[in-house]
Amino acid sequence: MRGAALAQWTACAVAVALAATACGGGDNGGGASGVVRSSWGDPANPLEPANTNEVQGGKVLDMLFRGLKRYDPKTGEAKDMLAEKIVTTDSRDFTVTVKDGWTFSNGEKVTAKSFVDAWNYGAHLENNQRNAYFFGYIEGYDKVHPEKGRATADTLSGLRVKDARTFTVRLTQKFSTWPETLGYAAFAPLPRAFFDDHDAWLAKPVGNGPYTVESYARGSQMTMRKWGEYPGPDKARNGGVDLQVFTDNNTAYTALTAGNLDLVDDVPASQLKNVRADLGDRYINSPAGIIQTLAFPYYDDRWNADGMEKVRKGLSMAINRQQITETIFQRTRTPAKDWTSPVLAAEGGFDDALCGEACEFKPAEAKKLVAEGGGIPGGTLKITFNADTGSHREWVDAVCNSINNALGNDRACTGNPVGTFADFRSQITDRKMTGPFRAGWQMDYPLVQNFLQPLYYTNASSNDGKWTNEEFDGLIDEANAESDPVKAVEKFKAAEKVARDQMAAIPLWYQNGSAGYSDRISNVALNPFSVPVYNEITVN
């Protein structure tokens, strides 16, 4: 019959296709004993410490490097790691002593020079390091990294190697909490191999952390193994970690539920309703140092006009944060009550009463305030966001619906998607925004300073709305110069209150880290940067 001929033909075609293409092979997955299989995303930039500004590259650096300080995975407190002591008398000149006995995994000793060389590399203009500005507080930065033209010096004049274990740092201004920024990956030490054969190092990075890189297949997998001779106190409690690049976090989650993966540190919002059923209690939802806000274009006179602070406050009060975080985010976000983050804790500057009623949902009052302030400029509020990363559309729609319901006008607010993140950022850089836009901030280090100065200080690097306020700037300067940490925090909070009264940006919610794991592993936790604490994980 016809069917038979067809079947014959089919078998033939399939055989041809298989013969032509079945060239893959090699096992993958399975999971070597004691090894954690974890989801990963392709790092956006080359894996250099001062060049990594997103969480995927950050994961690797956290396993591969240990710096002078390390943020406690639970409390976020900056604790000495390689630093024996960091002393200062004037909050400006620091003397750093490096602990003895640390080496890189290739055997090279970690010395004062390892740090100074690394920082000079990170700061230098010609190395194109995305995080160079972290060294901006160190004297001589304007020479190695001028705003225009070529560098006029090779090294930072503020850095001096005293002996094998000691170096001094001179800052451009007083910055009492500067040592606490040193847990950030950009401040990691680098071995000579990094400078001698840069390409080889990038292909297989070498560091001084609890793991070593066994193999790195770009774009698909990085195999990290426990470094047996790691001298630090936080040795790896598992045999290693296989970081597998996934095209989509939903796919990674499905692989986890199918038992092909052990750890997913980014559970997609659409699956949050299923985590209980799929994973039981193998799900973590813990606070991270991330806050989402709506920024405003203060270079647009309509938004900078007098009375507009009332409109902004009214809009803030028109947003039902509680309902949105519960329904859209399934409680993986917490309604914001100030402009910092709960991971700082009260003594670190977090204050859940600071925003007060301006962050509460009061639709009637919201409508009144918006009207008093002169209404929404242009009549329609367009919330600009980038459509390509994260699922911003859902919450933007929800925020707009909330505002529309409060103002009683179903066209008062609409989302305004921008195709790519790059385009979104260049519209911000070129000051082309005409209404509020998405602003997210992931802390670099757990200090209240980091939540305020980069975002609201005049012309700061992440002050996307170009908000400017002399009183705020003055208070920040005073706080930075304050050597008593408690008083410094009070000053920062005073500055934050200025931002609140002007409603410089509308705080939306604090973002949590959200992770799921398999029954193969235990002791899983996320640190305040929402990165899994890999070295603590044990394999059952």
Partner: protein, 307 residues
């Protein structure tokens, strides 16, 4: 025929230049990619300028294009923003995608043409209606959903396959993604075959063949199918593009690091080096696919001759 093929191959040269220029300009029009490289903060102007210089973005467009083409001819397709060579990206992505595309095309040919012949000969019968309903389902339910549900059922509930394709991406792992990828095209192939078969079954030569007393199987395979395949072959030829470059959704769902995925990443990051390199290779693939289709015309219908 030989001269015809050579002429067609020579036409690749202007197409190659036209396509690269067009895509190069398009990526350029998208604007400055450097703004997206510094995360949620403004690149400091000096670093931004350095990065622009590193990727040659500070030069006029025509000069960028000239430099790029010069490099291409020496085998250098440039570097993506994360420092990875584009040739390395292509070497990883194309074999996987070619396997996936072949699996999908085999599905299209086998399932699509069988169903098409079946429904074409049984128009208006329950089997025809059933296939029509399946067609509607495939068109109106997004690929994303079919992919997700298949992944959930086969991969998690029944544990028949791994839900995520490994980096080796062997053919057996690609069967389910291939089926999902082929699903919409299957609808086209089925309907096209059905219509052609139904139309040609009334043609004189088929009636002649039947009148001569040839067995039904022979009539269908030799006379009916052969003459019905031209639109189907044309469609599959045009579909190669959609399958290879446009498998963004399927590749994402099933964790396939193929051309669609890399191209999508390249476009979002506005990396002209990645995008132009990938698209150029794709255009050449279409050119070959369409040449193959035109040659198949002559095979299927001997009346068509090429000089």
């Amino acid at each position: 025929m030989g001269r015809y093929v050579i002429r067609r191959l020579l036409q690749m040269i202007p197409v190659f230049f036209g396509a690269t220029l067009l895509i190069f300009l398009m990526v350029n029009v998208m604007g400055d990619p450097v703004a997206g490289l510094c995360g949620d903060r403004e690149c400091d102007p000096a670093t931004a300028a350095r990065l622009r210089a590193e990727f040659g973005l500070d030069q006029p467009v025509w000069q960028q294009y000239a430099t790029y083409m010069g490099n291409v001819f020496s085998g250098d397709f440039g570097t993506a923003f994360n420092g990875q060579r584009v040739t390395e990206l292509m070497a990883g992505a194309f074999p996987v995608t070619i396997r996936l595309t072949l699996v999908a095309i085999v599905f299209e040919i086998v399932i699509g043409i069988s169903l098409g012949v079946l429904t074409g000969l049984r128009r208006g019968r329950p089997v025809d209606t059933g296939v029509l309903l399946m067609t509607l389902v495939v068109i109106s339910i997004p690929t994303f959903v079919t992919g997700l549900l298949l992944q959930l059922l086969l991969g998690v509930k029944w544990g028949l396959v791994k839900p995520a394709v490994s980096s080796a991406a062997t053919v057996d792992e690609l069967l389910v993604p291939g089926l999902v990828l082929a699903s919409v095209s299957l609808a086209y192939v089925t309907r096209l075959t059905r219509t052609s078969v139904a139309e040609n079954s009334r043609a004189d030569y088929v009636r002649t063949a039947v009148a001569k007393g040839l067995p039904r199987r022979r009539v269908v395979s030799r006379h009916l199918l052969r003459n019905s395949l031209i639109p189907v072959v044309t469609f599959i030829g045009t579909d190669v593009g959609a399958l290879m470059g446009g498998a963004i959704v399927t590749e994402r769902i099933f964790n396939i690091h193929g051309v669609g995925y890399q191209l999508y990443q390249g476009i979002l990051r506005q990396s002209s080096q990645t995008v132009v390199g990938f698209v150029t290779v794709l255009v050449l693939v279409f050119l070959l696919a369409n040449l193959l289709v035109d040659i198949l015309y002559a095979v299927l219908d001997p009346r068509i001759r090429y000089a």
